[in-house]
């Protein structure tokens, strides 16, 4: 067992273990000079000790949503249109820059997809990790150095003493991702947002990083938002799943529910077109057409124009819980209908 300091030890501010909640959050982005809604009323809750997998294809708004969790992206013109982000009940939007800086890294931190661009090439690994520690924990430089070493050991870094003195370009992609994970853990956050943490890595490295993240998450009772396009990664790591399509959550539930009983036609199609689950050599079932971009969403169900079940009932906006039970919510009025064989379109 690792010696994790008690969660509240070094921190000013609130106790950090209850919940992180996105409530009806809507975001707009500038597209060709106009603000267009890209995330439409998304509600998600992260709980300590659980991993929430947010799945969707590019352009569905999942990375925007993830960045909003830390109020990142605003300098790129992302604007909150409505809704809130609540950390233990306190709105992130009511905080000043100083409090936000403490929250980022201290309460919640982020692991990005691209380990090269997220590290500064001109500072040593050691100085980049201790910088985070000194910002968030009440430690002197010697203590911080010792903790940086401990963190590199925790993330399975071979020869951690040597790595502390090295620069990012000396490390492979997998080792850089381990450094970033160590940095994300440095301020003892309660929540981690991991945006495609393994996509840029080789297959065999991916598996090791997945196992590492899961072990750290379990050991430290972290709440994690795992953003991915890959149902394989969700199957590996998530406790809960939310499927996103064109700015909305279309289906959510426990990971067992979603894999055993996917109900939204989009979820079913997305799972069905993975090469892992189709027979070799045959044509794969595909979803005809493309995801409508922000600004071109239909007024009713966002998936209607690509859906084999769509009818007049889908022309009206559909509630997020149009079908629901205790463990499962589906934004579809035909959730229980049998779906015709997916057309094999080319």
């Amino acid at each position: 067992m690792r010696h994790t300091p008690p969660m509240t030890d070094h921190l000013s501010g609130a106790t950090k273990t209850r919940s992180l909640e996105l409530r009806e959050l809507s975001l707009s982005v500038p597209i060709e000079g106009e603000h267009v809604t890209a995330v439409a009323g998304v509600s998600l809750t992260l709980h300590p000790g659980r991993v929430l997998g947010l799945v969707g294809e590019s352009g569905c708004g999942k990375s925007l949503t993830a960045q909003a969790m830390l109020r990142l992206g605003e300098h790129q013109g992302v604007v909150r249109e409505g809704g809130d982000i609540l950390l233990d009940g306190e709105s992130l939007f009511s905080m000043d820059e100083e409090s936000l800086r403490k929250v980022r890294g201290g309460h919640l931190s982020m692991v990005f997809q691209e380990p090269m661009t997220a590290l500064n090439p001109v500072f040593s690994i050691g100085s980049q990790i201790t910088e985070v520690i000194l910002l968030h924990l009440d430690m002197d430089r010697n203590e911080a150095n010792a903790r940086a070493l401990k963190l590199l050991q925790d993330v399975g870094m071979p020869d951690p003493e040597a790595v502390l003195k090295q620069y990012p370009d000396a490390l492979s992609g997998g080792m850089r991702q381990r450094v970033l994970i160590a940095m994300a853990m440095a301020g003892e956050p309660a929540y981690i947002v991991a945006d495609e943490p393994t996509t840029a890595l080789d297959v065999s490295v991916q598996k090791r990083i997945i196992l590492l993240l899961r072990n750290l998450q379990l050991d430290r009772n972290l709440g994690m938002l795992l953003v991915t396009h890959d149902f394989g990664l969700v199957a590996e790591m998530a406790d809960d799943v939310a499927v996103m399509y064109a700015g909305q959550i279309v289906e959510s539930g426990t990971v067992e529910e979603i894999f055993n009983k996917p109900m939204h036609p989009y979820t079913r199609a997305l799972m069905g077109c993975r090469p892992e689950v189709t027979a070799p050599g045959v044509l794969m079932p595909v979803i005809a057409g493309q995801v409508p971009p922000p600004g071109s969403w239909p007024s009713g169900c966002h998936f209607a124009e690509r859906c084999p079940l769509a009818d007049d009932a889908c022309l009206e906006p559909i509630a997020v819980d149009a079908w629901s039970d205790a463990e499962h919510q589906v934004r579809c009025v035909h959730a229980e209908a049998k779906i015709p064989e997916l057309e094999v379109a080319i």
Binding site: V205, F231, E236, L270, R274, E276
Partner: protein
């Protein structure tokens, strides 16, 4: 069925690069070491490996985008390792390439009709502009792109559409072999499925041979007939796709297969130290 026709035969290719040492010295590193394989008409051979395995270098050597230190390449029975200049350009008509990132491989300032038709200007200079335009429209249609695309620019298309355009660009000169370097790695799964289906359809219609470079074993299992597994420049295992997936012999192949993503949470390993 008649006897298989070999369209591409690669024998004992070797290529080294020097690392470091701007003023001489440095370390020589064998990127590709004694690689041999043959590609038959209508067949898909996949080269699988991780970054640095030499799979992309092998593809570039086979196309003569790079010159090998040793070994030979026969394309449609003719040795292309030693030819150069005009002769090589003529032979390149038979072997074309599709890249991973279609946006990076399409000139942003050229209209689609010019980009896709570029190969025709080289290989069929006798064609008129109008004939070229028609041929481009026809090839784009084969790839699922309508002729409203002709006068647009690459940035006006999604990733999947750009990859269709990239495939049309390779097909326009009617090659016998397509070298596909991670052609679906940058795409979403639903788009990936569309492109894989498109590749299968075109292969059946034109009896094309594919050399398919990928790190993704699930995609390879889906599309390939035979597989070569590369590690540190060498082929460590090769064989029929079904056989290799069900009965991998080399420890590295076994590791790669074990590292594939799972399909259902019930397949999770118990957490162990990473």
């Amino acid at each position: 069925m008649s006897a298989p026709v070999t369209v591409l035969e690669v024998e004992k290719l070797t290529k080294s690069f020097r690392r470091g040492g701007i003023w001489g010295g440095g370390v020589t590193h064998k990127a590709v070491d004694n690689v041999s394989f043959a590609l038959q008409e209508g067949e898909t051979v996949a080269i699988v490996g991780e970054s640095g395995s030499g799979k992309s270098t092998t593809a570039r050597l086979a196309m003569r985008l790079l010159d090998a230190d040793a070994g030979s390449v026969h394309l449609l029975g003719e040795e292309i390792t030693s030819i150069s200049g005009k002769e090589l350009r003529i032979k390149r008509k038979d072997i074309q390439m599709v890249f991973q990132d279609p946006f990076a491989s399409l000139n942003p300032r050229m209209k689609i009709v010019e980009t896709v038709g570029e190969g025709l200007r080289v290989h069929q200079p006798e064609m008129s502009r109008q004939q070229r335009r028609e041929k481009v429209a026809e090839t784009l249609a084969l790839c699922g792109i309508g002729d409203e695309a002709l006068d647009r620019y690459p940035h006006q298309f999604s990733g999947g559409q750009r990859q269709r355009i990239g495939i049309a660009r390779a097909l326009i000169v009617e090659p016998k072999v397509l070298v596909l370097d991670e052609p679906v790695s940058a795409l979403d799964v639903s788009v990936q499925a569309q492109i894989l289906n498109l590749l299968k359809k075109i292969q059946a219609e034109r009896n094309l041979s594919y050399l398919f470079i990928s790190h993704d074993l699930s995609v390879v299992r889906h599309i390939a007939d035979r597989v070569l597994v590369m590690l540190e420049g060498s082929v460590v295992e090769q064989g029929d796709v079904a056989e290799l997936f069900s009965n991998p012999q080399h420890a590295y192949t076994q590791n790669l297969l074990a590292a594939r993503p799972i399909n259902h949470p019930r397949e999770r390993q118990q957490p162990v130290s990473a």
